[in-house]
């Protein structure tokens, strides 16, 4: 599903590589916990996987596509169709309704607008959001509700790769566990791969595999 070979990345003007990943492979359907302390190049890795940044050397192969060799336009299109993302915060556009926030993503889907809306309603329902909440402005929801909307939006196009970056740091323990359970329930088995990035290693028991970003950079993980 994901195959990284001999990847190096450094920011322009830096005198050493920030990331060097000789080899990393993720299978379809895997749920990976990537533990990364801050300053370890975690954000950079996510941006590389999402196709926002491109490496100086090496290849990133996603679904048999070398995304680092695509044009910027194609990388954006690839991200829209195949990658879902949930961030720490600021996931939603506050002045749009919950449904409109999801429509921002389903805009790129192959589904018709009506089908996409139907799917969005089902997803929101499964995530425990009422219809009334779906019509409200995203900025008026609680942080927990916003995170659930973010999951719905990340999954609306049934992406093969779901990138989740520190989503639980704003939540208390009870909500955190519930959030991860909800997230795992929505994944299509054997289809959606999850890369969950966090510095909180206590969460790793939820996942099928635990990888440290430091280990990734030295030997084949």
């Amino acid at each position: 599903m994901l195959l990284i070979d001999n990847l190096t990345f450094r920011y322009p003007g830096d005198d050493r590589d920030l990331l060097h990943i000789p080899h990393w492979q993720v299978e379809a359907g895997e749920a990976i916990f990537l533990s990364a302390p801050s300053g370890s190049g975690k954000s950079t890795l996510i941006n590389l996987l999402a196709g926002i940044l491109t490496p100086q050397q090496g290849t990133i192969r996603l679904l048999d596509t070398l995304i680092n060799q695509l044009s910027a336009r194609r990388r954006d299109a690839f991200r829209a169709r195949h990658i879902g993302m949930v961030f720490q915060q600021f996931n939603l556009i506050p002045y749009l309704s919950v449904m409109d926030n999801i429509r921002l993503a389903s805009h790129f889907s192959a589904l018709s607008a009506a089908e996409a809306d139907k799917r969005a309603s089902q997803l929101l329902d499964k995530l425990g959001l009422t219809e009334a909440e779906a019509g409200r402005k995203a900025g008026l929801l609680s942080v927990g509700q916003q995170q659930r909307v973010a999951i719905a939006r990340a999954l609306i196009n049934e992406p093969e790769l779901l990138l989740v970056d520190e989503p639980t740091s704003a939540l208390d323990t009870a909500h955190r566990d519930r959030f991860i359970d909800l997230l795992m329930q929505q994944l299509v088995p054997a289809r959606t791969s999850l890369i969950f990035v966090s510095h909180d290693t206590s969460l790793r028991s939820h996942f099928s595999r635990h990888v440290e970003i430091g280990a990734l950079q030295h030997d084949a993980a």
């Binding site: 954000s43 950079t44 996510i46 926002i52 954006d76 991200r79 749009l96 921002l104």
Partner: protein
Amino acid sequence: MMLLKLACYSLGSRLGTVLLTVLMMSVSVFVLLSVENIRHQAKESFQQSVSDVDLIVGPRTGQINLLLYSIFHIGVPTHNLSWNSYRMLQQHQDVDWTIPLSLGDSHQGYRVVGTEQQLFAHFRYRADQALDFASGQAFNKTYDAVVGAEVASSLGYQAGDEIVLAHGIADTSFSRHDNHPFQISGILKPTGTPIDRSVFISLTGLEAMHADFPGADTAPNLTPQSVTAVMVGLKSKIKTFTLQREINQYAGEALQAILPGVALSSLWSMLGGVEQTLWVISLLVLLGALIGMVNVLLLSMRERQHELAVLRALGYRPGFLFALLQLEALLITVSSIIVALLALAAGDIWLRQWLLSQFGLFLSESLLQPGMAHLLMGIVLAAVVSALLPAINAYRQGLNLQLR
């Protein structure tokens, strides 16, 4: 569709600032449109204050002076044209008709013009428009007067009312011709020319008033000694320059003949500086408003970084962010133009009356005309160009943005 929705809601989320920006822009668009319109129509109204008069003849003073006396009834004539010269013009073989004009008196600040019946028969303004009576008729008797539309409406006169004329042009003139009241025989329809602000009496009436004795109707000799100027209509336009030269070289008296069209143009070009200043000021007002809009959009970029990041993460291209900012600027501009046009339509009636009463400017056409489309397109174009700054800013942010 997504783009439009996003732009609308985004503007909606900053309603206060956006409304102020729209207000600022619409004021500037309103000023620009009004100035452009009045500038255009004032020129037209000015140029149309007389038509069909081939020559204006007066004593040698300078063509602008002569024009001001004869057409605009402005200024104090220093010397006159003798009655003999007037007779000469009247009887000239190439001359079809003449309209004598005699200035010097006033009524409540409005100029009194001594003239003859020919005024109503031959004077034309705008495109060959003759003077029409709103009520009553031309003066017949010695103490009859005809008043312009504005004189009648502002002083509340009706046909049949008696008025007293004063010597000199000051409102508070001490020498009133109290013992010679005139009766209003007719009121003219509005023309949008200085005619509206004038009181017309016959030359005989003028003489009788100055002869200063009652019962002037029976006085032996009321033939005027002189007139201020004469409007001349020719039998054939071809003779215009010949007659002009002939008059300018007339041996009996130092005379001057001018072509009204040429003189009006040269008077207008003297006023051209004012016109251009107005235009430049309204352009500067627009420039200020555009800078204000760009400022508002640029300032919003800082708080919108997360928004742009979300859009990029979802797969929207930097070009989409560029288009979003452009569309927002366009929406602000178009709303401003709509507000300005509505204000202009509402102000049309009020502005029209004010200009007519204060400046005698007659706006023949509506303030909203198809010709404005070019100007509006220009404003939209200017807005699009100004919005390049925030739009390029958004594009570059989108390009270099990192998700975190």
